[in-house]
Structure formats: C-alpha cells, structure tokens
C-alpha cells in the first residue's frame, strides 16, 4: 500500500481540473437550485452547449478562439431561454423533466453520425485551443510540493481557479442585493412574491440564464483541460455529481460549491486509489473472491451514492449551510 501515492493522486484530483470543473458547474446549480429553487437536472447539457459552442466555432467553422468564447456563452444563454420559456410558468417539476431530457438530446445530437462533420460524432472535437496554449505564461513544470503540474495543466489550473473565484465574487455580490433577495423569496413561495408585485417569471429566467452561463463556462474548462471534447464528457451523471458537490458543500452558500468540489474529489479519488491498490498485485489486501480490480474502480461510486444519502438524512445543510435556512429537508 503506497499511501504517499494515494494522497498525491487524491490531492491532485481535489485541487486540479476535476474539482475546478465541478465547482463551476455547481456554482451554476447553486444559483438555480440553492438560491432560486429551480430544479435543473440538465447542467451537463449547459456544459455541453458551452463546450461544443467553443470547440465547434474554432474547429468546424474556423473562427478565432476569442470569438468562440462569447459564442459559447451566447449558446448557453439561448439554451436557457429555450428551456425556460415553456417551463418556468409551470410547476417546478416540469423544469426538471425538460432539462434532463434536453441535456440528453444535446449529448446524443452532438454524438450522432449524421452531424459528424460539425461535431465529430463519438470522437468529438480537438485542436481548438492553440490560441489558449499560445499565451501560456508557464514554460516549465510547476511544483506544488505534493504534486507537480505540467505547463499546460498549470495554465488551466490558474485560469480555472481564477474563473471560479470571479464566479463566487459575482454570486456573492448578487445575492446580498435586493435582486438576490427576490430569488431567495421565489425559492420560498413564488405566489407570495407575485402578490407583492414582482415579476416572478422574469426573475426565474434571469436565474436560469445566469446559472446556465456558469454551466457553459464549466464546459469551456472541460474542453480546455482535455484539449479535446466528446459527448461522454457530458453524460447525466455529471449533473448528479454536481448536485452532490453542491449539497456536500452547502446549498445557498457562496463558497459551498467550491468546498464541496474539493472534498468530493478528494474522497472519490482517495477511495478509488485505495481500492485499486488494495486489489492489485500478486497478494492483494482484499481477496479477489470479495472484489477484483475491475470492481474496485466502481466501489467509489457506490460509496458516493451512499454518502449522498447519508448526507441528505443527517446533514442536509452540507458543510456550510444553516439548517434553518436549507431548502432540503428529508426529515
């Protein structure tokens, strides 16, 4: 058992691109679910729209990377408007149904054979981030004591954490304002808010768009981190991991998604590496009769599911939340 290596891998996951992407996606969900009470189960769809918006603009249409960024954001905004227009006047569950379906539609469409020339089918798109790597200030690997980052990773790491910090700052500034107060009130009771003269539909739409743009930016980060993009980056479980991250950190708290993402990826990676090592080698710690190597990589997800259930039962407010203030209450 190589504990140094387990720790190194876990910390890399907890501070690296995994955590950055999920923190950003969960910041978006926090605006949707944590503050406004909108059940968006299609955050992966927003990420796909953003990521593919960026990649396809450069690779397929040959435009500049710097034009592709606003186009990706615009795509996320349009996606939010399309989803919101028919559903935001209805009860909350309809948004959930529509978003989860729309996210799957996006994933299947970009992966389809007939649209291969635009979105690259199952292989996805590559070679769109030359402009991004061209301005990389790091020329050699960066040593962060426990782990080292190659120049490109260090650049994504820097840009990623700066974007997460800016997103948190924006959410903080908005949620302390009267605008944020309207969102929180809508989460509590939208009829009451309507009876006080606020245009609830418009506020829900603004929240859906804002959180969707954060989702789109998370999609950018996926694309930049891998220097490639494919449909499997945006499967449904991405959304549910992002929810786990949000609930773990504490919904309706500015830093909840960030702390949640760090803890989630540390634990997932720790469990994954532990079980992989415990089942590897000629004389494994855990007998193959109980668990073999291929099963080991899945146990972490069983643990994540169990963790989410226990979390909702025993600490629905997450790490940061105030129990009296939390929308989730399983008991």
């Amino acid at each position: 058992m190589n504990w140094d290596q387990i720790l190194e891998f876990s910390l890399r996951s907890a501070l690296g691109s995994d955590a950055i992407v999920y923190a950003m996606a969960a910041i978006g969900l926090n605006v949707h679910f944590g503050y406004t009470g909108l059940l968006n189960f299609g955050q992966a769809g927003f990420m796909a729209v953003g990521g593919y918006g960026l990649a396809a603009t450069v690779t397929t249409f040959g435009l500049s990377f710097w034009i592709a960024i606003p186009i990706g954001i615009l795509a996320a905004i349009v996606f939010a408007l399309l989803l919101g227009a028919p559903t935001l006047r209805l009860r909350a569950d309809y948004l959930a149904i529509v978003t989860i379906a729309a996210a799957e539609i996006i994933r299947i469409v970009v992966g389809s054979v007939s649209l291969q020339e635009w979105f690259g089918g199952r292989d996805g798109l590559q070679e769109f981030n030359d402009s991004f790597t061209a301005i990389n200030p790091y020329s050699s690997s960066v040593d962060l004591v426990v782990f080292t980052l190659r120049p490109n990773d260090a650049w994504v790491f820097t840009v990623g954490w700066i974007s997460v910090a800016l997103a948190c700052l924006l959410v903080w500034a908005l949620m302390r304002s009267p605008w944020g107060r309207v969102l929180k009130s809508i989460r509590e009771d939208e009829e009451a808010v309507r009876s006080l003269g606020k245009n609830v539909y418009s506020y829900k739409m603004q929240a859906l768009v804002l959180g969707g743009v954060f989702g789109g930016i998370a999609g950018f980060l996926v694309a930049l981190d891998q220097a490639a993009i494919n449909p499997e980056n945006f499967s449904t479980d991405v959304t549910f991991f992002a929810y786990t991250v949000l609930i773990l950190g504490g919904a309706a708290r500015v830093l909840g998604p960030v702390v949640g993402a760090i803890m989630f990826w540390f634990l997932i990676s720790l469990l994954g590496n532990f079980f992989t090592q415990a089942t590897a080698g000629p004389e494994p710690l855990i007998s193959p009769a109980i668990m073999d190597g291929t099963q080991a990589s899945l146990v972490r997800f069983i643990a994540a599911g169990l963790g989410l259930v226990l979390l909702i039962i025993f600490r629905p407010q997450g790490i940061f939340g105030d129990k009296r203030e939390i929308a989730l209450d399983a008991r």
């Binding site: 009267p178 944020g180 009130s185 009451a192 006080l196 003269g197 606020k198």
Partner: protein
C-alpha cells in the same frame, strides 16, 4: 361599535379607537343611500366587477353579476364553505383567469393583467394559508415587499451605491411597520419560526410595504387566538382610517359584525345579498344560504318532494333577481 375591543391588547390604540368610531360613522354615512340589494351601485367605487364567471369543468365556482366595492370602507365578503369567495379573490387579483367577465380597479380594466402588475397598481392581497417566506428573516420579508427597488434589476444589483440609500429608507419604513404590528422583537428571526398569528401579522405588515390602496385579506382571522384577534381587528380598522380600502373574506361572524361597514354575501358562486352587517345577518336569504332553506322542518318523503318543488321555483326566482 364597541371602542374598548382595540384597547385590551394595544394600549397605543386609545386614540385610534375613537378615530375608528369616527371612521365607522363616516363609512356608514357614505353608504347610507346605497340600496340593500345584490349588485348595488356605490357612490365612489374603487373596484367594479361585471359578469365574472369561472367554471371548473361542469362546476360554476363563481358567477358574479355585478359588484362594486366602495372606496375607503371595510367590505366583508362572507358565505358558506365552497361559495367561491377565495376563487373570486383569485380572479380579481390576477391569480386565476375568469372564463367571462370584466372588472376595473380605479377605472382601469384588469382583464388579462398579470398578478404582479395588479399588485403594483395598488391592489394587494394576502392568502388564506399564510405565505411567509420561511427561510428569510422577518425584516427581509418586509424589505422584499417594497416596490420600485433599483437593486432588483440585475445590473444595478452589482452597484451597491445605486440601491444602498433606498434600502435604508425601506428598512426604516419596515421597522416602523414592524413596530406597529408588534413584530419588532422578531426582526432578525426566520419568518418560519413565527406562530400562526404572528405570520398573519407579518403578512399584513408586508402587504402594507407595497403601499396598496385596496388591501384584500383572505381569512385574516383563521387560526388566530382570541387575544391576537382583537389586535388584528384594530389593525384592519386602522387601515381604513388611513384612507385605504379593505375587502376581506371571513367566516368569523363576530368579527364581520364588529369591523365591517358593508357585507357582501356569496352562496354557490353568486352574490345573494349586500348591506350593512346587521341588516344582512337578519336577511332570510343569508340564513338560508348558511343553514339550508329548511333546516328546521321535518324530513319525510312527501315533505322532501314539496321542498324540492319549492326549491326549483325559488331557485328560478332568485336567479332572475340579481341580474
């Protein structure tokens, strides 16, 4: 009108209660010439409804021929369960759409106007089951209700200097209202931790933050203990004495008798009677609506047949009169 009722709970109301007898007298004078019949024309109507009908499948929940609500008085809307009072409220405030009919507020048609715009026009309602925002503090509940807040637009929200001053002014107004409704001690508590009666108070105070001309209260006394009831009564009278118009739905007859200047009775979706409280409560149609037309007669097959025949004739008569 007993002036001592407001004094028992609210010592600051001693002056108000004399005011409120004046207000009651004034309201009575304004309504003295109004006919005691359904759909009566009022000298200064703030709200006028015409031919409002709402059907749920085969059931006609509301079918109001004509109703006028006098400005500056307290009008009670009463009727047995299922009479369509709350549905009528929902229709008037834009929370539901009627199948037919038109209605105006201050002369302006409200047909097809969204609920939030109706509130901005100065017609604010409360709910039968209180809708406080549980996970916001009491003061935040109050601040939310202020209208025309600059900080409620996305871009201005990011510039605190655009909304700080307004927020301070709103908070001051909210604090004085909380003081008046004796909720100042609960200022920083989550609204969800308040008792049922306190929630009613908060909802009323919050509605006042919108500065409405017409306050529509849906069962303000439901589930409120007798002591708090007295102070709520005082508050409703104060609303009128400030020059606002109050329209409220209520089951509690003592309260209706005590504070209302005018009573409108609904039964089976229609308005069956109108008039000052004492007059209405002695009205045979109203007693029939509440207790059934034959609540004190024997039930036998022959009597039942006679009753049904009589009912059919009477029902036909009644349908004609309100129109």
């Amino acid at each position: 009108m007993p002036a001592d009722t407001t004094d028992t709970t609210d010592t600051t109301d001693t002056t108000d209660s004399t005011d409120s007898t004046v207000g009651t007298a004034k309201a009575a004078a304004a309504l003295s010439d109004v006919a005691r019949e359904p759909g009566a024309t009022k000298p200064d109507a703030i709200l006028v409804a015409d031919g409002i009908r709402r059907q749920f499948g085969g059931l006609t929940a509301v079918d109001v021929g004509h109703l006028e609500v006098q400005r500056g008085v307290i009008t009670a809307l009463i009727g047995p369960n299922g009479a369509g009072k709350t549905t009528f409220f929902n229709l008037l405030t834009g929370f539901d759409r009627p199948d037919a009919g038109s209605w105006t507020f201050n002369g302006r048609s409200l047909d097809g106007i969204a609920a939030y715009k109706v509130a901005r026009l100065g017609m604010v309602r409360t709910f039968q089951l209180t809708k406080v925002l549980s996970k916001l503090t009491v003061i935040e509940n109050m601040r939310l209700a202020a209208t025309g807040q600059r900080g409620e637009s996305f871009l201005s929200a990011l510039l605190p200097m655009r909304w700080r001053g307004q927020e301070r002014a709103n908070t001051e107004r909210a604090d004085s209202l909380l003081g008046r409704f004796t909720l100042d001690a609960k200022r920083e508590d989550f609204a969800g931790s308040l008792s049922g009666g306190q929630r009613k108070l908060l909802e009323m105070a919050r509605a006042l933050m919108v500065e409405p001309e017409l306050v529509m209260l849906d069962e303000p006394m439901a589930g409120v203990n007798p002591a708090l009831k007295q102070s709520l009564l005082g508050h409703v009278k104060t609303l009128r004495d400030e020059g606002r118009t109050v329209l409220f739905v209520e089951h509690d007859m003592d309260m209706v008798r005590d504070i209302s200047d005018w009573v409108v009775v609904m039964a089976q979706g229609q308005i069956v009677a109108e008039g000052p409280p004492d007059n209405v409560m002695a009205n045979q149609v109203v007693i029939d609506a509440y207790l059934g037309a034959h609540h004190d007669s024997d039930i036998s097959v022959e009597a039942e047949e006679q009753r049904l025949a009589a009912e059919r004739n009477r029902g036909a008569d009644q349908k004609e009169t309100p129109r």
